[in-house]
């Protein structure tokens, strides 16, 4: 990592290293371009001009304030669920449960908004909703933590399966006690009151939730890189046996890391409710958990790189809409592009890191 600064490195190796670094940069660029080329071939099969399409995708995302806002809007929950995957990953845990933790966070936040905070002023209501959202995510991740530490169950499997349970739990609520009485039997919650909505930036749908997400990413980065706590988490992730022999209470740490991850995803759920949808549906936040996991993988679980990868995924997601309008292909076909991006990154990850 810091080989260049070491005094013992010989000058000859210095130049070799920089050549190696150039190679790495070249490789990175290739890896980011290759999926677009391949996807372009796919588009050609459907008689869509890829260059035109990419250009319109670029225009729709960077070309206008609104479009750019949409990208940030999409990137926000991806960033938060990405953190929910990246933080445990640094402690050696694989949390695929960002999806479920987000949904349950949204459920808790909505529940609080509808039943307790309906007439609360913004400065009380919004922070409390945030707390409830974080709590919901943490509760859901807490189940994973208990299964992991007390039941010795693999957290990857349990967190993944709990996503389905979460979806059904939300369905249960929006069909039941949370159902909007004025909604003619549609399964969604009542609208939360207007003062609980996040302020938006004029000319866009963009709310201030994305600032919060960036802030949280910075906090996670700071903790991991600069504090004793983060050091310990990285030790645990690096070698569990060594952590145990140093006297760490490993299970205890697992629990707290998972709770924190759940809270981050839960906050994403809360932001979806208060920032965008205004009410809970059984489809709220669908796929953001998995996209976040993807973003975390692409960023090698580094919180600051995650800023970039979640933005990229947000951009591709928004561009999907353009695709539908501009080419007649379904919006979901951008998922092919996302998959290609991931495959290339994963395929190359080991080589880049060594």
């Amino acid at each position: 990592m810091k080989a260049g600064t070491s005094l013992t490195v010989m000058p000859v190796r210095e130049s070799f290293l920089s050549a190696g670094r150039l190679r790495k940069i070249g490789l990175t660029i290739t890896v980011f371009l290759a999926p677009f080329v391949l996807y372009g071939l796919f588009l050609l099969c459907y008689e869509v001009n890829p260059i035109e399409l990419y250009w319109s995708m670029l225009k729709s995302t960077f070309g206008s304030l609104f479009g750019f806002g949409e990208v940030l809007l999409k990137a926000t929950p991806i960033l938060l669920t990405g953190l929910a995957a990246a933080l445990p990953a640094r402690a050696g845990l694989i949390n695929v449960g960002g999806e479920g933790q987000l949904i349950i966070g949204a459920l808790f936040a909505t529940f609080a908004a509808v039943f307790f905070l309906d007439s609360a002023p913004s400065w009380v209501g919004i922070p409390l909703m945030l707390v409830f959202g974080a709590l919901g995510g943490a509760v859901w991740a807490g189940i994973v933590a208990v299964l992991k530490t007390a039941g010795r169950m693999n957290e990857t499997i349990s967190s993944l399966l709990l996503n389905y349970v979460a979806t059904h739990t939300v369905s249960y609520f929006v069909h039941g006690i949370l159902k909007d009485p004025a909604a003619f039997n549609w399964p969604y919650s009542p609208q939360i009151s207007w003062q609980l909505r996040l302020p938006t930036i004029t000319g866009t749908r963009l709310h201030i939730g994305f600032i919060l997400a960036i802030l949280l990413a910075a906090v996670v980065w700071f903790i991991l890189s600069w504090t004793k706590l983060g050091f310990n988490i990285r030790v645990l992730g690096g070698n569990k046996l060594a952590a145990q022999r140093t006297g760490f209470r490993i299970n205890w740490m697992y629990v707290w890391v998972l709770l924190a991850a759940g809270a981050l995803a839960g906050i994403a759920g809360m932001i979806e409710i208060t920032g965008i949808e205004g009410r809970l549906r059984s489809t709220t936040g669908v796929n953001y958990g998995y996209l976040g996991f993807l973003a975390a993988w692409m960023a090698w679980n580094h919180p600051l790189r995650l800023l970039f990868t979640s933005f990229l995924l947000g951009m591709i997601a928004v561009a999907g809409n353009t695709l539908e309008i501009g080419s007649g292909l379904p919006a979901s076909s951008v998922q092919i592009l996302m998959a290609l991006v991931l495959f290339f990154l994963m395929g190359i990850a080991r080589r880049l890191r060594s």
Binding site: K228, F231, R234, G238, L241, R245, T246
Partner: protein, 508 residues
């Protein structure tokens, strides 16, 4: 498959040498394997037995010397070539696929072409297993088999390999219970009668006495003893050859005046279980006094790791009482660390090194009192402290910025030892401190351990080097046959007596 000429030389090596970096694992080995003879290779752990066998099986290519078969030099590396020449090996850790049946495992190794000829193979399996008393059920899944059955499967596999002439057994009886050992030796003699050339790697002298025709002893990579006939050979001679003619000089210890009767660690009636819930040691009585070094002798794999881990809270006692400084202790490593216990594990690369972390980070993690700077860590302060540290200097710790996972084994060892010494613990559980180190550093470490004891630390020293144990310890205990025997006063017992104790447990 029967050979016509018993005594015919099947394989001969001359001047076989293998080096790993600066370490010479095998030097100038001359060895013959004859049809219808069992050739036993004796030696302690790390003597180079496995390296030699891996060269004969083609896993390693020799650096020097040659292997001669049928009158001409042959290349056996990679193992494919060794197999084609008729060399089969029964490994200590079996190369089997648990999710498949016995039949399929054999088919995988023996079968040729695209088609499994299951029926034909089944017949041959039954034939071979009847002939050599190797009961295997072709339709059982490997995961259902115990270790003894797996070994029989391995042997059947080797026997079914077309053209097998030489069979190498790597510590075959280590996985067997005593009753099985008897049957195994019977089978071995049957193989001999049928003209196979057999190489038997072992450290159990009674087995050698029971069945071998020839015996060679390896010590530190060299063939130090060879006998073409077992006639007139006594077990004592073999023990002496294995231990080498090391004069066990009781190096002058500092008179550990600090050693007093103050007991710091006590294990009573301990029963310790292994990774699979099997009892590894029973009825363990162990006491450590302030300022004394107690050496633990024993052939490795006799419960050393389990005992050490138990004394550091990594493993729960199944039964018994553990007290540190008079107080009963339970819980994990944290409780033990707080009570003043430090542990240096036998495999620091696996258990102590964190990939990507520098030496400095490792030292801060454990060993040095961490200098916290608000919520962060005062790296600069830690660096200065480490650079001033006497222990780090004495152990010639590598550059602090270097990544620990890229260090050599010796450098990792220095790092974990420096950590342990800097802690100045009340109790130090230390496994194989000089493993992988040159003589100079070994001396330094031994001196540091003695000094540490003189200052009042109680040390439990696990080592496979009897020389080291005698040099450092005040008292010795021996692990063998699920028992801990002793303590013996190091000044009153001889190395060969300890050696006998180490081996006796094995046959019990």
């Amino acid at each position: 498959m029967d050979r016509k000429h018993p005594g015919e030389v099947l394989l001969r090596t001359s001047g076989l040498t293998k080096r790993f970096g600066s370490l010479t694992a095998n030097q100038d080995i001359n060895l013959t394997v004859q049809a219808g003879k069992i050739h036993a290779i004796l030696g302690e752990n790390g003597a180079g037995k496995s390296t030699l066998m891996k060269m004969l099986y083609g896993v390693y290519a020799p650096d020097d010397g040659e292997i001669i078969m049928d009158g001409e030099p042959v290349v056996l590396h990679p193992p494919m070539k060794a197999k084609a020449k008729g060399i089969g090996m029964v490994f200590q850790d079996f190369r089997l696929i648990p999710a498949q049946t016995v039949l399929d495992n054999i088919a995988l190794a023996v079968g040729k072409g695209w088609r499994f000829r299951r029926k034909q193979l089944r017949e041959r399996i039954m034939e071979v297993s009847a002939k050599y008393n190797l009961a295997v059920n072709p339709d059982a899944y490997v995961w259902q088999l115990d270790l003894g059955q797996r070994q029989r499967l391995e042997i059947v596999k080797v026997l079914l390999m077309p053209g097998t002439r030489i069979i190498i057994f790597d510590e075959p009886t280590s996985v067997l219970v005593p009753q099985e050992v008897e049957a195994f030796l019977q089978m071995l003699m049957l193989l001999r009668k049928n003209g196979y050339g057999i190489l038997l790697i072992t450290h159990k002298i009674n087995e050698v006495m029971a069945c071998a025709d020839q015996v060679s002893v390896l010590t530190a990579g060299k063939m130090v003893f060879h006998a073409d006939t077992m006639e007139g050979l006594t077990p004592e001679q073999l023990i002496a050859a294995m231990m080498g003619d090391k004069q066990i000089t009781n190096v002058e210890k500092l008179d550990t005046g600090a050693a007093d009767e103050q007991e710091v660690l006590r294990l009573e009636d301990g029963e310790i279980v292994g990774d699979h819930g099997n009892t590894v040691l029973a009825n363990v009585q162990l006491k450590l006094h302030r300022g004394e070094i107690v050496g633990v002798a024993g052939i490795s794999g006799n419960g050393q790791r389990e005992l050490a881990e138990t004394l550091f809270g990594l493993r729960k006692l199944k039964h018994g009482m553990l007290t540190v400084k008079g107080k009963g202790i339970s819980g994990g490593p944290k409780a033990f660390i707080d009570a003043g216990v430090t542990y240096v594990s036998e495999d620091p690369l696996k258990e102590s090194v964190i990939p990507g972390f520098t030496i400095l980070e490792h030292m801060v993690l454990d060993g040095m009192p961490v200098k916290e700077k608000r919520i962060g860590i005062d790296w600069q302060g830690a660096r200065q402290m480490l650079e001033a540290s006497e222990e780090a200097k004495a152990l010639r710790l590598a550059d602090l910025n270097r990544r620990a996972d890229k260090l050599s084994g010796g450098n990792v060892q220095r790092m974990v030892l420096a950590r342990a010494l800097m802690r100045k613990p009340d109790v130090l559980i230390i496994s194989y401190p000089s493993r992988g180190l040159d003589i100079g550093t070994t001396r330094t470490i031994q001196q540091h351990l003695l000094d540490l004891a003189a200052r009042g630390t109680a040390i439990l020293l696990f080592s496979e080097d009897l020389d080291e144990l005698f040099k450092l310890s005040k008292r010795l205990v021996v692990l063998a046959g699920k028992q801990l025997s002793g303590p013996y006063d190091a000044a009153e017992i001889t190395a060969s007596e300890i050696g006998t104790l180490m081996l006796r447990g094995e046959s019990a």
